[in-house]
């Protein structure tokens, strides 16, 4: 495999604010500019690039104890609220959590956990289609996804991930079919789980 191209700055979606071996949390630069659920993101540089899949996202007050209050009673539209209270952009923030599903040394993508977690303040990029295609050549990451306990149901997350990835492929149906067959093998003794995922894969 050739040298991997690093993502453009325009694909940058946030910055790591919490990191562990299996997860990292990133804050968005812009309120609500969240990557989609199941989206593939990457952190780090060519020496160690960590891949994560977005499994959870929140938008809340910057200060944990201070809840936002309703402001729109006299406004005509939602946008008006933000316009009349520009401080909101600073008082609220969007965060997303990702599950680490692989890493790359700049040449090869490995679909298992990296030796080190990403550093705080590393930039998080949403992977472009080309990169998604490269990553999804193998379905080994599905095993990591299926075997973690997360606040969202694993079925939802797997289905969302595959739907997101399929957008990068020309023949979405063929990609989903191949993924489905891989899942059927991984979930050979859990048909109800398999059925729940396959049901969410329909386009």
């Amino acid at each position: 495999m050739g040298f991997l191209k690093m993502p453009d700055l325009s694909d940058r979606v946030g910055e790591v604010i919490e990191a562990s071996t299996t997860h990292f949390v990133a804050e968005c630069y812009q309120l609500y500019e969240l990557p989609p659920l199941g989206g593939l993101v990457s952190v780090g540089d060519t020496s160690l690039e960590t891949f994560g899949i977005v499994y959870h996202a929140t938008t809340a007050s910057v200060e944990p104890g201070r809840r936002p209050i309703a402001r729109g009673k006299d406004e005509a539209s939602e946008e008006e609220i933000y316009k009349s209270s520009p401080q909101l952009e600073k008082l609220l923030r969007s965060e997303f959590s990702t599950l680490v599903v692989g890493h790359s040394n700049g040449e090869t993508i490995y679909q298992y956990l990296p030796p080190k977690p990403p550093r705080i303040h590393s930039f998080v990029y949403l992977c472009p289609s080309e990169r998604v295609r490269e990553f999804s050549r193998s379905f080994d990451f599905l095993n990591l996804l299926l075997n973690t306990s997360l606040p969202v149901s694993v079925e939802e997350l797997v289905a969302a991930t595959l739907r997101q990835m399929s957008q990068a492929h020309e023949d979405r149906q063929a990609f989903l079919k191949a993924a489905g067959r891989e899942l059927a093998v991984l979930l050979s003794s859990e048909f109800s789980k398999l059925r729940a995922i396959l049901g969410r894969l329909r386009l």
């Binding site: 989903l176 489905g180 067959r181 899942l183 050979s188 003794s189 048909f191 109800s192 396959l198 329909r202």
Partner: protein, 540 residues
Amino acid sequence: MIGENARQPLGIVVSGSVDKGVEVRLDSSASVEDMVVGRYVTIEGRQRRFFGMITDISLGVTDPQLTVNPPDTADPFLSEVLNGTATYGTIHVLPMLTIGGDVTSLIEGPQPVKTVPSHFSMVSLASDDDMNLVFGEEDANRFFIGNPLDMETKLCLDLPEFVKRSNGIFGKSGTGKTFLTRILLIGMLQKSKSVNLIFDMHNEYGWMGTSETDGRKVKALKQLFPEKVAVFTLDEENSRRRGVSTDFVVKIGYDEIEPEDMVLLRQTLNITDLAVEASYQLRRRFGRQWIQRTLDVGESEDTQELLKEMNIHESTFQSLRRGLQTISRLSFIEPHAPVDAVNTLLSYLDKGMNVVLEFGRYRDITAYVLVANMLARRIYARYQERMERSMSEDIAPPNPLVITIEEAHKFLNPEVASRAIFGTIAREMRKYNVSLLVIDQRPSGIDEEVMSQLGTKITCLLDNEKDIDSVLAGVSGKSELKSVLARLAPKQQALIFGHAVPMPVPIRTREYGSAESYKGFIGEAGSGQQAKKDIEELWD
């Protein structure tokens, strides 16, 4: 040799044992509906290659939940994903032969299986080349009798090997036994160097037969090979009416019938055991003329005295007499035959002619059993004598003889097999250059000991449990073959196993009855003769 041509893989071996065969999980690309019981597969083991037969096909699921709550099959996405992953097909393969990868084993050829292929060995359908490797190609000894099921390969029987032992053809009535026998007889008269004597109960082998399906007339042996086949008949008038040119009319004298013949006829003539015993006594007393004398004895005082003297009960005597009268009413039986039928028969056989003995209108079992047993007994005695002489005096032994009998259970049932000549021939095999081709629809009626001595068995569809058991007795992989046998098509299909084939094989028998098929049969003979002529010319 191994992996020579890329094949479409069917699946991989997942479990198994030598005894029970191996389980093969099908790839998702191979449809379970394309698999057929009885087809041949090859398994590429690590060091050797295995040949086996599909003996069972089953469906599997990874999670029993699937069978309880089946998925929506109308959804193509779901069914495509599940097919071959969560739901899959398995085939059960009975390995039968192996070929090692090294040079010596290639020379030795296929060997019987003594092990199983290792885990996850690749399985694919056997190609025509594989089949040729196992069964050999058509040549001077091998005769094309049919195609393995669903294959184009010509399956060839090694006929000189085939006739070394007694053989059997079985199958329900109407499954094509007669056609199969005709094909085999043609093969034997072309390629086995043996001569055939056929007791043709239904007049089907000599001149012309009919196809049961469409009533079409088919040519029989003499029409195809006039220079090699002679037709003898018991009923000249009937043969003439059917337009058969016969070579000899067989007449049998009373003096040629022995008490041993009465043993076989006991059931069909409905005479008592004691009456059979009495026939031995009468034979001792009256000599060769015993039948004539017995029939001549009236119910006079002398008779009473005679019986008393011989200690035969009146009713026993009457029972025997009734039986003998039935025999004497057969018009080919005469007090004294003008020409000895056995001598004539033997002279034909010595010339290398094959003899078909037609029974004409005497289709009842009494005539058949009597004549077949009597002629076979005397021919066998002569063969025995000549073989012994040839051994001691170092002269050429007589031509190997194959005697074909129909309704074999009448001659070979456990009650009479030990005493009748056919039982002896079947048991002693080829010691005296005589073997049997047994044709029967109820193999369970044949003595076990005789069945076990049959070298090659060819069986068309059988559906009686007892018959299937008796045919397959002693064959390895019996239960697997049973399922193959029970699923043969009711026509034109047969399972061959035993001495002449390296492994059991179900076949679709060769076409017989069309003008082309005749050409095929005669063509083979023609080329053989041409070769012989060429060789002769070379030496002149």
